[in-house]
């Protein structure tokens, strides 16, 4: 029988005992060194090592007494305990480990499935249940928020371009394209006075296009192409579906990462993946509508080409992260639909002139 020196705390008070440890075939005897009082008898099979210790320190506990601790400084004791058949570190059995890994994978797949497959479908159902007049109010409210935000970003006052002839030209174009969609939906477009080149579809048939876009367009067909694209979004209820989807993704990502770390990136990827499908759908149906009503539809392709050249340099890197498919894909798709032989211009020269001057008169956004 060998003996070792150690330190023992019984787990009832914080008193430290200098102890002598003796080993029998099946038990470990802990005796106070000075008085030779027996403090504890630990069965060797019940010993466990505390496995986070700094080098040179070994702590033991016994499963029968969860708070008592024995500290030794000699690793030789462990060799001897191992020979005596102690299971100092309990490892999980292989079936249990495999079960844990599998259930973790299942849990993760369930979350991914809920995010990518389940929630978008549920969100679309929820979005479909929202009455039309609710959507219109949501759209109007979203428009105010958006125009205010755009003005803030571009360092101007939030205002709309309102010259009468220009607005009339825009509305004429919308009415014309709407025929191609054969829909009872009512569209309402406003021109926000900001430099940015962009257009947005909002819930309830609300559309916002920027004065920057009107300046950037070289002919009315380009504007018609953008408008029909946004109208196609509206027809498919993409804006309201997007809003409901984003709501759920927010919650899901907060759950996954426990906080906002990485959530904006994750959200962009997650939301982007869906809107890319939606964008392709809007491109296609917008062009079909133009084709239906006999407006020249080369506008989309030329518009994208010039936009690509303008943004060359940085946006192309971000195609995977951006909400839109790459310009190349979209140009190819746009060029695949041929004009009708008798296709017309979207506006006559005079109307086009007034649309280009629509920002000669502006109206500030009212709250």
């Amino acid at each position: 029988m060998d003996h070792y020196q150690g330190r023992y705390a019984d787990g009832r008070t914080a008193t430290l005992y200098e102890v002598t440890i003796r080993l029998s075939a099946s038990d470990l005897f802990i005796e106070e060194t000075t008085t030779a009082t027996l403090l504890a008898i630990w069965p060797i099979r019940h010993l466990r090592k505390i496995n986070d210790d700094p080098p040179g320190i070994f702590r033991l506990r016994c499963v029968d007494d969860e708070a008592a601790r024995l500290t030794v400084f000699e690793s030789h004791l462990f060799t001897q305990l191992a020979q005596a058949g102690a299971t100092l570190i309990v490892r999980r059995s292989w079936p249990k480990r495999i079960a844990i890994v599998l259930s973790t994978i299942l849990l993760i797949l369930a979350f991914i499935g809920a995010g990518i497959w389940g929630w978008p479908r549920l969100a679309d159902i929820i979005a479909g249940l929202l009455p039309e007049n609710h959507q219109q109010r949501l759209g109007a409210s979203a428009k105010t928020t958006m125009v205010t935000l755009l003005a803030k970003i571009y360092h101007t006052e939030p205002r709309f371009c309102t010259s009468e002839a220009g607005v009339a030209a825009l509305n004429k174009m919308i009415a014309q394209i709407a025929v191609g969609f054969s829909t009872p939906m009512h569209f309402k477009a406003d021109i926000a006075d900001v430099r940015m080149v962009n257009a947005f579809a909002l819930p309830g048939g609300e559309i916002v296009i920027t004065s920057g876009l009107i300046k950037f367009a070289e002919n009315p067909e380009e504007i018609a192409a953008v408008l029909s694209h946004e109208m196609a979004h509206a027809i498919h209820h993409h804006p309201i579906r997007g809003m409901v989807r984003a709501m759920g993704h927010n919650i899901l990502i907060t759950m996954l990462f426990g906080s906002n770390i990485g959530s904006s990136l994750g959200e962009a990827v997650l939301n982007g993946a869906y809107t890319r499908d939606m964008e392709a759908e809007a491109d296609r149906d917008g062009l079909i509508a133009l084709h239906e009503v006999g407006i020249k539809n080369l506008g989309l392709a030329t518009f994208f080409k010039r936009l690509r050249d303008k943004e060359e340099g940085y946006t192309q890197y971000l195609s995977l992260l951006s909400t839109h498919p790459s310009f190349e894909d979209r140009i190819t798709a746009a060029e695949s639909i041929q004009d009708r032989p008798n296709a017309n211009s979207a506006l006559d020269t005079k109307e086009w002139e007034s649309l280009r001057k629509v920002c000669d008169q502006t109206k500030p956004l009212e709250d």
């Binding site: 009832r12 008070t13 430290l16 708070a67 601790r69 609710h134 970003i153 990136l265 192309q316 995977l320």
Partner: protein, 407 residues
């Protein structure tokens, strides 16, 4: 150590009549833990964080020794996961209800506008309240999982009372334009100290008061007002807003102002913050024992400087690597999926870099420094410290969702 009367602890500790507190660990062991953690976080979509936290805590806890015996962390990843799941099931319905109300407020303002506004406002207040509540309960969990010589720590009292005291302090501080800050924060602080236990013996801080902090606090506040005041005057004078605009070139004055102002602001923050920590430490008693902290602003500043250097260097390296690779693989016909993959790989690398740098170059040196400069005066009779009751059964769920600090 210091001549400041508020921080003086008498007598100067002699070995023999006081307890030794030390920090020893192998940084390489920590590095291995956090690297594995970061790598496992990605494929598990963050779910590994409960086990990751547990492993890091086990390392830090076992590195701190008192009289030669190391602390022991007995919490488990499973407890943290369960705590999180419970908090999530409570929290998510609340958010869903609020989003529905927001929707109704827009679509039917006459009927729901007022209710939604009230609920929204109460939610913001509730959120502030919950952050403090979560902080307290998370601390309770951590203390109950901290063992020394087999004896558990603990935190009694109620998270509700603590959160109320904190919200009240916030209110008092804001209505006095910050001046009452140190006085206002003390009741909550005293509450958490008085309810902290090791075994059956409680900590206390009977003479903790805001008074000794006032002089430095007012200097701090004054500098803060001057800093932001100057900024506002500049903004008004030049008629600019803080929105980025492409035409306006970044003004030289503003650049210089921030170049000097921001580092100055950090130093100022530490100058007050470190003094506050030292003062609070000096007021804590545990039975016959008093504590003193010798941590200095300079040493913390140095740690922060090294950390910042590593952090910026790592980010620059990643950005550089991504730009070079992206320019090689991009071609004029538009965005290629390879470039997208490079960007995502860069983001993952940056995430791993941050996950390693923060614990290794910020938390560890700070903790080590704090422990090594800590002094205990007086002798505890450990035979009088009994075992404490077991703590809560599950982990800090709410704190995880609200992202309330703590490693």
């Amino acid at each position: 150590m210091t001549k400041d009367p508020h921080l003086a602890v008498h007598p100067v500790p002699q070995s023999g009549d006081s307890h030794r507190i030390s920090y020893t660990d192998q940084p390489s062991k920590l590095a291995k833990i956090i690297l594995t953690n970061a790598l496992l976080m990605i494929p598990t979509l963050g779910f590994y964080r409960f086990w990751a936290k547990t492993k890091v805590r086990r390392h830090f806890w076992s590195s701190i020794k008192l009289d030669g015996d190391a602390l022991e962390y007995t919490g488990t990843g499973k407890e943290l996961l369960i705590g999180f799941l419970i908090a999530a099931t409570v929290f998510i319905p609340i958010i869903v209800v609020i989003q529905i109300l927001q929707y109704l407020a827009v679509t039917d303002p006459d009927q729901y506008g007022l209710i939604a506004a009230v609920v929204n406002f109460s939610f913001i207040i509730l959120l502030v309240f919950l952050v403090y509540f979560a902080f307290f309960t998370a601390r309770r969990y951590r203390m109950s999982r901290t063992l020394w010589r087999g004896i558990r720590g603990g935190l009694d009292g109620s998270g509700f009372v603590y959160a109320l005291r904190c919200v009240w302090a916030l209110f008092l501080t804001s209505i006095t334009a910050g001046i009452a800050g140190p006085y206002a924060e003390m009741p909550a602080l005293r509450y958490i100290i008085k309810n902290s236990r090791f075994g059956t013996q409680r900590f206390d801080a009977p003479s903790l008061s805001g008074g000794p902090l006032m002089k430095r606090w007012l200097v701090y506040l004054f500098c803060l007002f001057v800093f932001f005041g100057a900024l506002i005057i500049y903004a008004v004078m030049s008629g600019m807003t803080f929105q980025p605009a492409e035409e306006t070139k970044p003004p030289v004055f503003l650049g210089v102002f921030f170049l000097i102002g921001l580092p100055g602001f950090i130093v100022l923050n530490l100058w007050y913050g470190i003094y506050r920590i030292r003062y609070i430490t000096s007021q804590i008693i545990y039975g016959p024992v008093r504590f003193a902290s010798g941590i200095t602003t300079g040493s913390v500043l140095w740690i922060g400087f090294i950390y910042l250097l590593a952090f910026i260097g790592m980010l620059l390296a990643v950005v550089l690597a991504v730009s070079v690779l992206a320019s090689i693989f991009s071609h004029p016909s538009g965005g290629s999926p390879i470039v997208g993959a490079i960007i995502i790989a860069g983001a993952i690398l940056a995430f791993i870099g941050i996950s390693i740098i923060v614990p290794l170059l910020l938390i560890r040196p700070l903790l080590k420094r704090f422990i090594e400069t800590m002094v205990m005066v007086g002798k505890i009779d450990f035979s009088h410290i009994g075992q404490a009751a077991r703590g809560p059964g599950r982990g800090e769920g709410l704190a995880d969702i609200l992202d309330v600090g703590g490693f």
